[in-house]
Each structure stands twice: as structure tokens, then as C-alpha cells.
Symmetry: C2
Subunit: 657 residues, 2 copies
């Protein structure tokens, strides 16, 4: 076996955090975050090692360098703050630090009364070599001068040994020397790791979904984007910041689905907005009954005035009447009889929808065209996309598309609507989706919720997966909501809004606590808006609007709820009650939420609070302030009594220390 | 952003196990082991995916392929048996399985009463394309014929739909087709991962260390290799299989250490065997007082007759009198005054030893010469090396050296004597050391032992780190042994020999329970053999020889103790008692050991056995047979009473079901 081609640096770098699949994917952060980097750094022998963190933003190719601090057990740490949106890179350099090693030995020997005259000369040699490297690195002249002088002082025969050892103790000069290690001994981790920096709304957002065609003022009429704009003030007043509209494009007529998903539509049935494309256009067109591009822009302008942002749906599929089908039949699969393959999930057939064949020989043209759809709506001002079923399109397509979009506009947010197997959901998040729907809707018991959110909260998952919690969607009316009555709606709202920094509701049916399924055992809504116009009109009495408004205000006023880091669960002696807290990193704001998961009965119990997570000392008295009711309770230590009736199934408690 | 250069396979492979640092280092196994490989394999959408494990030995470049089985949740598994010593490679291939996907849909639709005529034609197309690929892959003609016929049957207009669907159900034909996926859709994990296959002694070994110079029959005389050979029968009778000799080379006289490590040696002091090199040679010479190469070969031949193997010490350092110092001064560092740098760990100085400068400009020559030292002793027949302080030499040196040796002779075993920080110890094991010393000597309480061995037993650590447990060494007389009396020696022996499939004792002082330190607070032996000759002579009464013999026989007769996999700890209501079990993978042999960790008092308590780990049902009666005393106890369920006095501080219980 031949020798290694060159002498390798003696140092080893291992186990860098944060890291997603060893740097294959970017870590996600928000502008302003501190990226705390750690790594194991060590070498053979007893010499000191030195490590520095290198980091740079995509816009500035010059690396910035931060010395790393030893945490003990060969672990080193440093951090950097990400400021600009887009990609940052970071990596580590490490080396055996001959000057620090020498100095440590010198001081020990001198303290033990040993002769260190030769050691001082050795140190002077090391420092002189460092000064030479500083020259080669075009260091400031004053730096070179200081290093040269240090070497001279260490070697100075006319000073006492004690004086010279004292000079060796200079931390300032050691740190100066550490900037110029021997390049041959420096190991750099290649390739660098990456951070994707998003805007704050990627982490903290409150979504409201509504069908614009249901916003008309006269019952049964096809609502317009202009009608929808009229609804925005109410939505903003409830405290939401993202309004998400299902597809607004023309809808096909061939094999159009009727009310409640009937295979044959009545002539007046409007069809599913997800059956995109008709006579009047496809993914870049607006349904004529909704209005025009100008109407959309007016809607968005009105939203902006109210502090709302409009999210559009990105559903890459076609009705049989989509212009693509006629113009680019090569973009679709064919059945053995020559017909185009419709969507299916056997035995279910979706004959009103044709999926694209992403593997078509013409995939270059297809992918480019699909990307141009995003460009089109971005040109119109859209910066948030909810992506329909991304898990049924190639993962490589999304990785390419999202990188392409974010290179142009790093502020764009993509929410992945993938309700599929865990590993596929995680992969979509890794490859670039900004936020992800979750299994939250089906996690109802304490252990289910605790286990799931502890999993999401642990690195590396917490470094790439940002949960967006929805208690309902047009496709998901859970059994729990069907049977739990108003208490279930209230509890699920509080859970979504306090467990998740990002959450959303499919608004009108949720506010009104609609709970009738299409048929027993189904999660579809009866008379679903997917297939018919529902003119909701003004909110009747007894809706959840007041609770929603209050919860969103609590979220706005309490930064602990605007971040999923710092989530901790607390034990109770009654499993039907769930308690968890969120704190800001500086512990300035701490919110403890307690929810009664039983929608039918009053539940009470004693907490066993994790006082460390709350920043409280054992037996310390503190006050909790229920932000829902404004009640205040004096508590002390871990054990406190809680009682929640179905009429008011949650406490959102601000903890005062 | 440009499009990806070609359409990528849709499938993803993640989280392969076993894997050490993502394949950077080899996984360790023993010839005959089954390597159980698992991975996450998935793709977008609902199609079936297929995965196969590829594996090959270094001696046969042809890949062998094993289909992987779906375990659920996108996890797939397969295994292969390693037979030859040396390196194996393994990797995965995976792809979206269009035929399995088609077949699944076909069957569901047919069962739902849907028309599948077009689907059958589609399947026939897929199978025909597969047949064409089989032709391209030079498959056996009969295979191509069977695939073609399958396609014809699926498409056969003269058969009924039911008959054709029935043909589609053939698992045999599906498996045949799965051998010929579309190469463009196949993802292979590159580069492959590696397995280092060692001989069984790498996993299961019982070591005995003795200084050959202390084996003379007349007290005070310098023992010889011939004297040492006379001792072997006793060592074999005790049941050991490796005899490890500290360095047998000439010893320097310059700055030689005296008795008890005195800075100045008396003229009669023999010096430390680790101060290697003198007038009569260096690392390839034998100390003249010990004998000749012929004597060593006779010793090894005698050992082989007795089923023993001789391990030599590999200590890469020189006395000032080593020929290398004269012939290759460029291989050593110089102090600022021109003298050669001796070993030091400030404030300690080891002036009888010069370390090599592994980074010397002449490192090529140095490394090559050091490797030739191993070659030399291998030529003499040595196949086990205990490596002295590997952590003070560059990690890259060891990685190169061990790979080089094992390429020539994969049966060679290297034991790393690195008592240093955990990450450095693990790195040495990763880069190639076959076995490693551990912190066992200093782990005395139940939680300490449990925590440490649970850590060592978990992948990936268990995939690369093979512990060798030593209760004592010439450098380590622990405080516990100094003060614990005979009960401490007996308990530590049982712990080492039953926790570790590999263990060793520094024999003569351990048998005689020597426990006097050089000075209070020291872990050095008083009158240590490192610095003087100790003529142990025949074993006096009251030694541990009988216990050692019995424990080693138990190890030989019980395969559960020959492997560190299958270690499980059991709870007791008395923390001073420690219980753990080992089982063979087939559970044919299970040994439960209970040790009283208190050397001074009798301890008793009730077990809370992990019945799953023992393969027992709740409340099942079973018998435990104490292999130390031959007593048998009827036990039942998890809760059983145990009482151990210092006179007999352990049970080694065989569990009979």
C-alpha cells in the first residue's frame, strides 16, 4: 500500500451541528438568527488544537472567521448571525496549535521550577515563523511588527526568565498569532454546509383559507376576487396574516365532478378548482367568473393595506380541457389504448384530472414551463405558494424549482401540502419547502401529541422541518371534530395556535364549527366547497370568531408563541389534560398552555411542572395569568391544581417570575 | 438556475445501517457473521419501490445481489454473510418498480369490478420492455422466453380477463422481472460502504500479560524467552488464549530509569522495556538477555501447541541509544539548543525516551521504516500486536499502517492501548484498530458500568469499537483494587470476563492480588516490573488461579460470553448489586451475571429482570445454574432473591428455559 500522497493535517473534525444529512441539504434559519455551530475537534497527542468557524453569505464571497471556544470533551462552539435572505455557507478550519501547546507546557514547567531557557527560545522560533506567515498573508504591518517584537522579547537574553515567561502569558498576542496558522497543518471541512435564510413569516404565520367563489353577497352567486377583497378586513381583524386561496384558474368541464364529488356534474355545478384549465386558459389564467389579473392585484393591494399577504395554490395537474393537453400531449402519459392517463389511486379514479408525466422525454420543456407558472404569479406580486400534493411529483423537480425561485426571490415561501409517509414529508422539507403540513389533525391524545411534537422539535428535524398546523382543511374534517362538539373545535384551535408558531384554519367552516361529513366514516365535508359554491355571508352568532381573534392577539403579543424552539411538555397526573410551554431563548416571555383533551367532561389534575424549562426554582412562588380569561393565579413550585370544563377547555397562561 | 443535467432516478436512499461516519470507515465483523443491512428507500407518489443489496468481497469483483424486504415505514432490509477475512463492499440499488405498481393497481381495480382490459395491455408493454432489457443484459434465454410469454399471456385476447389477471398475480414472474429494471431509473448509492472481516479472536479473546524477564527460576536472575516458554503450560491451563509480552528489545542505558521509576538507575537496574534500543539494536532486535529470534520462534511454537498465541508490543519510540538516533537524527525533533527533544507531558519528563517526529520532512522514510518493523515480526510469525500509546502518533499514520498490514495479512489483530479522551479512542477504533483498551478499570459503580457498556453496545459504536477489558495493567493499579481486598479482585475479574468477550489481566500481580501502590494516590505498582525484575516463581497458596481458571472455562463453554452483542442490564432494588445478561442471537445460550460491587459487605436484593431480554414469559418458572458453584436455583418471573457475600461476590448463572 503506497504512502498517503502528502502529510495530512493531524487534526480531525467530526459531528458538526447543525447539519442536515451531512450538509447535503441546507439548515433553515430566519434573518437575524444566530447560527450556533458545534463540532468535535481533536488530534493525536496532548497538543492544543484551535478551530475557527468560517461563514459567508451568497452575496459576499469573502469568508468571515470566528474563533471557536472549547466546551470540553473535544467539543468546540462558535456562532454567526444571518442577516440577509438567501443562502449562507459555513465550515470549519482546525489545526494543532503549536504556540498554545508550547505556552501551556512552558507555564507548567516554569511553575514546577524547571529550567525553561530552551523552551523560551523554541517559542521565539514558533512566533517568528508565525510572523513570516503573517507577512505572506499580507497582514497589516503593525501585526507583523507586534509578532516580531513578541519573538524578540521571548528570546531576549537581557531579560530575566521570569519576565520572558510573563510575556509568553499574553493572551492578546496568542490570539494574534492564532490568526496565522501553518496552512499545511490546517484542515478545512469541504464542502461547506449551507443555511437557507428565510423571512420571519417562514417561522411565524397565521393562515386563513377561503374559497373566493363563496364570498358573494347574494346567496348562490359566484363570488369574485372583488367580493373576496371585501372579506379581508374581517380576516385581518381576526388577526391572521396570510390569506390562502385555492386555485383561481379556469376549471375544466370534461368529467367535471358534481356536488359532493358526484361523478356527473349538473350543468350548474362549478367543478373543483383543482381541475385546472379550460377554454379560457390554464395555470396562468384567472377563472373569468372570479375576475381579472387586475382584480387579483387589487385584492393583493387591499390585503397589504391590512397587513395580510395572499397565498396562491400551486397544483400541477390539468383538467382534460387544459390548453397544455392540446398543445403538449407529449407532457402526459398515455394508456395502452392511446387515451391520456387520468389521475388514479386505485380503485379511485379522478377522471377530471390528468397528471403530468414528469419523466416524459420532453421533461426539459415541461419543467421549464411549470417553473414559468411560478414566475408568472411572482410577477403579479405573489410571494407565498401553498403547493398541492408535492409528494406525487418528483422530488428532484421540487429541489430544482424551489432553488431556482429562491435564487431570484429568497423571500418566497412554499408550504408543502403533503399528507404522506413521514420520510417523504421530511425529504420534501429537506429539499427546500419552507413550511409543511403535518399529522397534527390526527394527533388527539396526550401521548400522540407529545411524541409527535417532541420528534419535530429535535435536531436535525427542527433544523429543516417547519410545521404548519391545521385542525381542518377542505379535505380533512376529522372524526374528532365531527363528534367533539364546540369543545373540540376550541381545544383544537388553541392546540394549533400555541403548539405551532405557524398554523392555519380553513376558515368559514371552522368558525361555524361545521361538522357533518359527506357520509359516515368520511373526512370530506358534506356539501363541500370543493364542488359547490357556499355563500357564507356574515358570521352568525355563536361562532368561534371571538376565540380565534383573542388567540391570534395572544400570539402577536407573546413572542414565545412565534417560534417552535423552546417547546417543553409538562407532566400532569391526569392524561386527559395536556400541558406544554414555550419560552423565548432569553426567557423574557414564557407561555404555559393547558388543554382539556376531553371534549365531553370537565377534567382536573395536578401539574408536575418541569421547572427548569420554565426557568423557575423549586418551590418558587410565581403568577400565571390566563390570557384567555384574564384571571390570575398564584402558583408555587411544580405542583399546582388545574381544572378545565368543556365550555372553556384551555388555559393560555403567561408565567411571571 | 439551469435544469439538472439529466432526469434523475425518482427513488431516494437514506439512513443506511450499518454505517460508520457515512461509510468513511469500515464496519467491523467476524468471518461467518451475517451483515444485516437496512435503509430507507422511497420515492414520490404511490408507486412501489424495489431495492436490492449488492455485496462483494475484495477477492471477487463481481457484485452479488440480494432483494431487500420491506419492513414497513419505507424501511428495507437484507443481509449477506461474510466468509473471507479482509474487506467486503456493500451498497444498495433502488428504483421505482413499474411492474409491481401496475400489478397492485390492476388487482385492486379488478377486485372493485372495474374494466382492466387497457391495464392488462399496459402491463404486457411493461413486461415486454423488461424482456428487452433482459436480452440486453445477456440474461439466460429461458428467462427471456418466460418474460416474453408472460407479456403474451397478459395481452392474450383469446383468454378471459379473469384468466389474464390471474397470470398477473404470479409472484415468481414478478421477481424474475425485478431482476431487470430500467437502468436509467436505478439509483445506486456511491461509493459503496465497507466491512472489515476479522478472525474470531478479534471478537473473543482472553489475554494474559507477563514480563518474560521475570520468568527465571532462580530469584533475581534475568528471565529468558526459554524460561517464559516454560510458563506457557500454566497460562494455557488457566484458559487464556493470548500471551502478551511487553517489548522484548534491547533497552537504552542513557537516562535509564531505576527501581520505582527513579530518575537515576543503579548499575544493576534493567531499565524500562519501553525505552527501546541500545548497542545491540532497536525495534527489530531482541534483548540479548532474553535470547534470540530462534528462542522467540520456539516460544511461539510451544504456545501454538498449547492453543496460545503470542502478542508483541508495538511501541514506536526510542531510547537515546537506539541506532535510529545515530543513523537518522532527522527523524526526531530538536530543541532550540540543538539537542534532541525527549518525551514529556509537562511537568513530567521522560528523558529515557525520544518520540519520533512523524511530521519530519523525511516522513516518507520514517513511516516506511516503522512499517517494516511490523513486517519483520510478522515474518517471524507474530499476528497480534498490542500498540503502545497509539494516540500520541498521527491518526493518519495508523490508518495507513493498519490498512497496509491487513492487505497483506487480514488475520493480524491490533489492540490499541489508548487511555485518552473518548473521541480519540473511538477515532482510533474507526480507522482500523481491531480491539481497544477501555475505561473499564475506572468504572466501579452500577450506574458507571451500565452507562458505559450501554454506550459501547449501541450502533454505530458497536460496529467499530471492540472493547478489551483489563482490571489491571502494569500502569494501572486502581484505587479500588488497592483498597478492596480479595473481593474486589474477584469481582473485577468476573466483571471483565463476563461483560467483555475480550478481556485480559496483567497476570502474576493480579493472581497474587498485589495491591500496594508506589506511593499513596499513585496507580503505579510498588516495585513495578517496569523497572526491575520480579521473579514470581510458582504460585503460592491463596491466589486467584482457581477462580481465573473456572471463569475462563465458563467463557469457553458458553458462547453467550464470546460476543458483546446481546448484552442487557437488569434492574435490582439494591444498586450495589449489578445484574446483566448475554445471549447468543438464537437465545440457545443465556448467561445472567450478578456481581456484588461492595467488596466489604454482604449485599442482597430482589431482581427486576428484563424478561424479554432473557426470552422468558412473565411468571414463567425457570432454572438458573451457578457455573461458579454448581448450585441450581428455581426462579420465576422478574422478581427473584439474590444474596452475595464478599467471599463469593458473583453468580454466573446459566438460564435454562
Amino acid at each position: 500500500m503506497s504512502l498517503p500522497s502528502k502529510s495530512q493535517p493531524r487534526v480531525v473534525i467530526e459531528s458538526i451541528t447543525p447539519s442536515v444529512d451531512q450538509g447535503r441539504f441546507a439548515v433553515k434559519r430566519i434573518a437575524g438568527d444566530d447560527v450556533a455551530v458545534e463540532a468535535d475537534v481533536f488530534a493525536d497527542g496532548h497538543d492544543a488544537v484551535c478551530a475557527r468557524l468560517l461563514h459567508r453569505s451568497a452575496s459576499d464571497p469573502a469568508w468571515r472567521s470566528t474563533p471557536m471556544t472549547a466546551l470540553g470533551n473535544d467539543r468546540f462552539a462558535a456562532g454567526f448571525v444571518v442577516v440577509e435572505l438567501g443562502l449562507y455557507e459555513y465550515t470549519l478550519e482546525a489545526w494543532v496549535d503549536s504556540i498554545a501547546s508550547w505556552r501551556r507546557g512552558l507555564i507548567v514547567k516554569h511553575s514546577a521550577g524547571q529550567d525553561v531557557a530552551v523552551d523560551l527560545l523554541h517559542g521565539a522560533e514558533l512566533v517568528r515563523a508565525t510572523a513570516a506567515r503573517a507577512v505572506a498573508a499580507r497582514a497589516d504591518e503593525s501585526v507583523v511588527r507586534r509578532l516580531d517584537q513578541w519573538a524578540t522579547e521571548l528570546a531576549a537574553a537581557d531579560s530575566s526568565i521570569a519576565q520572558r515567561v510573563d510575556r509568553a502569558r499574553s493572551d492578546e498576542l496568542l490570539e494574534l498569532a492564532q490568526r496565522y496558522p501553518d496552512p499545511e497543518q490546517v484542515l478545512r471541512r469541504e464542502p461547506p454546509l449551507t443555511v437557507r435564510v428565510d423571512r420571519p413569516r417562514a417561522r411565524y404565520s397565521s393562515w386563513y383559507e377561503l374559497f373566493p367563489r363563496s364570498t358573494a353577497t347574494s346567496p348562490g352567486a359566484h363570488g369574485t376576487l372583488a367580493d373576496c377583497a371585501e372579506r379581508l378586513a374581517d380576516i385581518a381583524a381576526m388577526g391572521f396574516d396570510v390569506v390562502y386561496l385555492p386555485p383561481i384558474h379556469p376549471i375544466g368541464t370534461t368529467n367535471r365532478k358534481g356536488r359532493n364529488g358526484a361523478t356527473r356534474a349538473a350543468p350548474s355545478d362549478p367543478g373543483s378548482p383543482w381541475a385546472i384549465g379550460g377554454d379560457t386558459g390554464g395555470h396562468k389564467a384567472i377563472h373569468p367568473s372570479l375576475g381579472t389579473l387586475a382584480d387579483l392585484k387589487r385584492l393583493m393591494a387591499r390585503a397589504a393595506e391590512l397587513g395580510l399577504e395572499v397565498a396562491l395554490d400551486l397544483a400541477y395537474q390539468c383538467s382534460p380541457d387544459h390548453p397544455y393537453v392540446r398543445e403538449h400531449p407529449e407532457w402526459f402519459s398515455r394508456r395502452a389504448d392511446g387515451s391520456i392517463q387520468y389521475a388514479e389511486n386505485p380503485p379511485k379514479k379522478y377522471e377530471d384530472i390528468y397528471p403530468f408525466d414528469f419523466d416524459t422525454p420532453a421533461w426539459h420543456e415541461l419543467w421549464t414551463e411549470l417553473a414559468s407558472v411560478v414566475d408568472y404569479w411572482m410577477d403579479a406580486g405573489v410571494r407565498i405558494f401553498r403547493v398541492d400534493n408535492p409528494h406525487t411529483k418528483p422530488l428532484a423537480f421540487w429541489e430544482w424549482l424551489i432553488a431556482r425561485v429562491k435564487q431570484r426571490s429568497p423571500e418566497v415561501i412554499f408550504l408543502a401540502e403533503a399528507f404522506t409517509r413521514p420520510k417523504v414529508m421530511y425529504r420534501l422539507a429537506k429539499l427546500g419547502f419552507t413550511q409543511s403540513y403535518t399529522y397534527f389533525a390526527w394527533r388527539n391524545t396526550g401521548p400522540e401529541i407529545t411524541g409527535y411534537f417532541q420528534e419535530l422539535g429535535r435536531p436535525p428535524i427542527s433544523d429543516f422541518f417547519r410545521a404548519n398546523l391545521w385542525p381542518n382543511t377542505p379535505d380533512i374534517l376529522t372524526e374528532h371534530l365531527q363528534h367533539g362538539g364546540p369543545a373540540a373545535f376550541a381545544a383544537r384551535l388553541v392546540l394549533a395556535a400555541t403548539l405551532g408558531a405557524s398554523y392555519g384554519i380553513y376558515g368559514p367552516p371552522f368558525e361555524r364549527m361545521e361538522h357533518e361529513p359527506r357520509e359516515p366514516g368520511s373526512e370530506e365535508y358534506r356539501d363541500s366547497e370543493k364542488y359547490q359554491i357556499r355563500t357564507w355571508g356574515p358570521d352568525p352568532a355563536g361562532t368561534l370568531v371571538e376565540l380565534v381573534t383573542r388567540v391570534n392577539r395572544i400570539r402577536r403579543e407573546h413572542p414565545a408563541l412565534q417560534d417552535d424552539r423552546g417547546l417543553a411538555f409538562h407532566r400532569l397526573d391526569n392524561e386527559t389534560l395536556l400541558a406544554y410551554s414555550k419560552s423565548t431563548p432569553d426567557r423574557a416571555n414564557t407561555i404555559l398552555t393547558v388543554v382539556n383533551l376531553d371534549p365531553h367532561d370537565t377534567q382536573s389534575g395536578w401539574t408536575d411542572l418541569d421547572l427548569t424549562a420554565l426557568g423557575l426554582a423549586a418551590d418558587q412562588p410565581f403568577e400565571v395569568h390566563d390570557l384567555l380569561t384574564d384571571a390570575r393565579y398564584p402558583w408555587r413550585g411544580a405542583r399546582n391544581f388545574v381544572r378545565l370544563a368543556p365550555q372553556r377547555p384551555a388555559h393560555i397562561l403567561e408565567v411571571s417570575r
